[in-house]
Symmetry: C2
Subunit: 532 residues, 2 copies
């Protein structure tokens, strides 16, 4: 290896005007020369003094680059003898001799004609390997296309997530602009003023004790949930809560009853963990299993008793007790998703199913996404006493969460009364918006397109005439920049699917509701000539 050839080659490629440090450029160029074998294995590189002087750069830079290359395995140093290009490609591990390009002197071979670093050494590798190993390498000489897994493909094919997450009439999104930002910032600054290391590291299993205590009080009082702080597991929201419950309480192939229709996101979480869902019809009293359903007890039952999602009915007491009794006899777990029970207009929020459970079989799931703001990512599970320790351990083991400082802020936010007062204010606000929306709908359509499920929550469902293609209506609305979700998309069983639109009013400013509804109505009319 003549130092001057290498120097010339490097000098041509070093670009001092590029703004990239010379160190980094030199390092990359040498790596590249070694990977493409322009600098063949075993060849000696010029001394740092010589190269530095020929390139007109600091010797220290060259020394550092050599050290880095040595560390990375590109070169090796032999004390007193100098620095040599290392044997880096697999075939060279055993010194295969039939690779002429490897020994070609720098400059004699056009770099673009050299084999790519990855594709070259297969044959040599095979010769070098024991028979079994060589056979393994032969198996796939014609690489098949890499693809998603089966569960991955199903997940993508069934994905229901929307590209838009804000604006009229995005369902399930609260008005985050009303969040008491000043209080929150005050709490933030308080906790960041004197750093507490224990709040910046990983979370203990189950989350911050302070928050678990505050939540236990709140849930006992407001939701009739019976629990100790130890039974509360802090999560990042309903997705993680359901993921944890599903993995701890069921095995692949187990069956879960889901309400039909139900929330798409949770369906994806269950399916990717290997659960088979059996969609159960709902009626005015909530989930309504048929005799055939009852004859096939599932492992898990997922319900939304306070406010069926997305239709909005309340599960009757008789149905609740039937469900609890059935679960007790058949050793099923019930997951109660109490997702937006805080917003009930014209009456107080309804008590939870968990509060009726005396058999330790209900897993209660809630979150702050709808009461504070979705981006906060704090939710919780309330699990039966017997499961509390396992859930706490598993949550730390699987998710390794943190965000304790935020949990501390939230605990104080609740303890200071800001949480309940915010809910009260929002309930009034959303109640008004709901009325505004219903008025706009009545004005345009009279009784022709009835709304259901609007007694609670952040959205209502506008029914469309049977057989209407609600997906087409939603698409027409989106063209007009209005987000609504087609009701039929929430059904698992096509024969049950009703046509309708989920209309979220909570995040739409009062004065925009009527205009936005009229735009939506134009989209409806354009799709349903009936109303044109």
């Amino acid at each position: 290896m003549r130092a001057s050839v290498l120097s010339d080659w490097l000098a041509q490629r070093l670009d001092r005007g590029s703004g990239q440090p010379v160190y980094r450029q030199l390092h990359r160029l040498l790596q590249q020369a070694i990977l493409t074998r322009e600098l063949p294995a075993g060849s000696k590189v010029p001394s740092s003094r010589l190269l530095a002087s020929e390139l007109g750069i600091a010797r220290n830079t060259v020394t550092q680059v050599y050290e880095q290359l040595a560390l990375e395995g590109y070169v090796t140093s032999a004390t007193g003898r100098g620095t040599f290009v290392a044997d880096t490609s697999p075939d060279e591990i055993v010194g295969s001799a039939d690779a002429p390009a490897l020994l070609a002197p720098l400059g004699a071979v056009d770099a673009s004609a050299l084999p790519a670093p990855i594709s070259a050494p297969v044959r040599a590798l095979q010769q070098a390997l024991p028979t079994s190993q060589a056979k393994a390498l032969q198996q796939a000489q014609q690489p098949a296309t890499r693809a998603l897994s089966q569960r991955g493909s199903r997940l993508i094919a069934g994905a229901g997530v929307s590209k838009r997450q804000w604006g009229a009439f995005m369902p399930g999104v609260p008005d985050v602009t009303r969040f008491p930002a000043r209080v929150w910032s005050r709490l933030h600054n308080k906790y960041w003023r004197r750093l507490r290391p224990d709040l910046l590291t990983y979370a203990p299993g189950g989350g911050l004790s302070l928050l678990r205590h505050a939540l236990a009080d709140y849930l006992r009082t407001s939701r009739s949930v019976r629990c100790t702080p130890e039974q509360i597991i802090i999560t990042t929201g309903i997705h993680q809560s359901v993921d944890l419950a599903v993995r701890l309480l069921s095995d692949p192939g187990d069956v879960i009853w889901t309400e039909d229709p139900c929330y798409w996101g949770v369906r994806s979480v269950m399916h990717v963990s290997g659960l088979k869902s059996r969609p159960i019809a709902v009626d005015d009293e909530g989930i309504n299993p048929s005799p055939d359903d009852l004859a096939h007890p599932p492992k898990l039952i997922l319900v939304t008793p306070s406010h069926q999602y997305p239709l909005g009915m309340v599960m009757s007491l008789a149905r609740r007790r039937m469900l609890l009794e059935y679960a007790r006899q058949n050793q099923c777990w019930i997951i109660e998703d109490d997702y937006d029970s805080e917003y009930r207009y014209g009456s107080r929020p309804l008590a939870s199913l968990q509060g009726l459970d005396t058999a330790g079989q209900v897993i209660y799931v809630g979150s702050f996404g709808k009461t504070l703001f979705p981006g906060l990512r704090i939710g919780y599970l309330v699990v039966p006493e017997a499961l509390a320790e396992s859930f706490a351990t598993a949550s730390a083991e699987l998710y390794r969460e943190g965000q304790l400082l935020q949990q501390a802020m939230l605990a104080e936010f609740i303890a200071e009364g800001h949480f309940t007062s915010h809910i009260r204010k929002m309930r009034t606000l959303y109640g008004q918006r709901r009325t505004t929306l219903l008025d706009a709908a009545a004005q345009r359509y009279g009784d022709a397109l009835p709304a259901v499920g609007g007694d609670a929550g952040l959205h209502l469902v506008m029914q469309l005439p049977d057989g209407t293609d609600d997906r087409a209506v939603a698409a027409a609305a989106l063209e007009r920049n209005i987000v609504v979700r087609p009701l039929s998309g929430y059904y698992a069983e096509p024969s049950r699917a009703q046509s309708g639109l989920l209309i979220g009013y909570a995040c739409v400013p009062d004065e925009e509701i009527a205009p936005a509804f009229n735009t939506l109505a134009d989209a409806i009319d354009s799709t349903l000539p009936l109303f044109a």
Copy 2:
């Protein structure tokens, strides 16, 4: 139902000094009386006027309670006739007549002798149900114990998560007290001053575009990762990154190669998703598959090339190229966990494996947990172009993340140069602490207990003599309030397990290192009489 009997019963139980609102107390008491059948189904409740006057409370309170009970299904109203206790228990759905307790008048039956609300109606329910349904209910007359699922039990049994997350010598935890809190608070206040709804709602698939751009720049420059911003998927850390990759790229029963030893947390994430891991030995050059290993190509290969976890060696260039070539031929995916590559002492950080990949087969995984603070919960995947859209969709569908405001803060933190400058400072600091620790060890033990893997990262491994029970040493240390992790616990294959201790020095203040080490040494000596 005589109103006065009910009034007396209620009056005895209402506690005006308890601080609980009368509304809530009355609501609960009536619920309880109905559930325990002290107020039998079909009985008429006194008018709100009468009950209010007998209890000496506001009539409005009673009216509201009745309305709430009606909504919850405990009572029903018949216009002009009054309010009646509803049929709430499953057997009453069809009016079974053989349940005498149901009709017992209030006060005639000792409440404690009444059947619990849940356990009563089994027989009646069976009579009422169609045969198939009744059979289903019979199946489990003797309830078995509800238990964790098989995967759940395995997860708990194998859990490696530590109860303590802070203090000397917790491995893998940076010194969070040095985090530039003032800069962070300034960014926080800037973003909270004018609320941006789009930053408070759910995250779009893949995360905030601003952060993905900032990260792409950083990873290109500092880690030689080749990617566009679209190839970057923001996650909450390595656990979620690996979870997502495993679910999208493998199916239950697929095999993953893991280094032996390796990080326990990721092992749990893989196993709970049904992967079988094949532990592959490591040597001085990193992962070292045997011919038998090579003959059984896995679906996934998980490696830590920059700094093997927990042993700390660097994967050689030859090994890297062999791995890439093998994966290409056998259509395996490689997951590169680059978990603390930023901290390398005495030389620059090493280039990533991803940067050598020309076949689109490497999934690169990193996080800010070690560079900023663990509780932040921001990590990232860099996926091959062909997978970018699927990963973005699946992350939104499965996890429904948020925290966009925090992501915006981080993007600005990086763009303003705070990130790289913080890393530089910490590298110097940790380098000093490492030296202090090595000095303390040398002073106490000379060369007797050599340390390995200390060239990079936040911990080193102190080797113990073969056959030492390192778990006992760790337990003895914990009794002295020192956290170390036994090296043998990281091995999957017991025959390979070496004895040693993971000692994390990064989060220990300089002046505490030597004293803490001496305490640890006392624990070692107490367990190894050899050194006593």
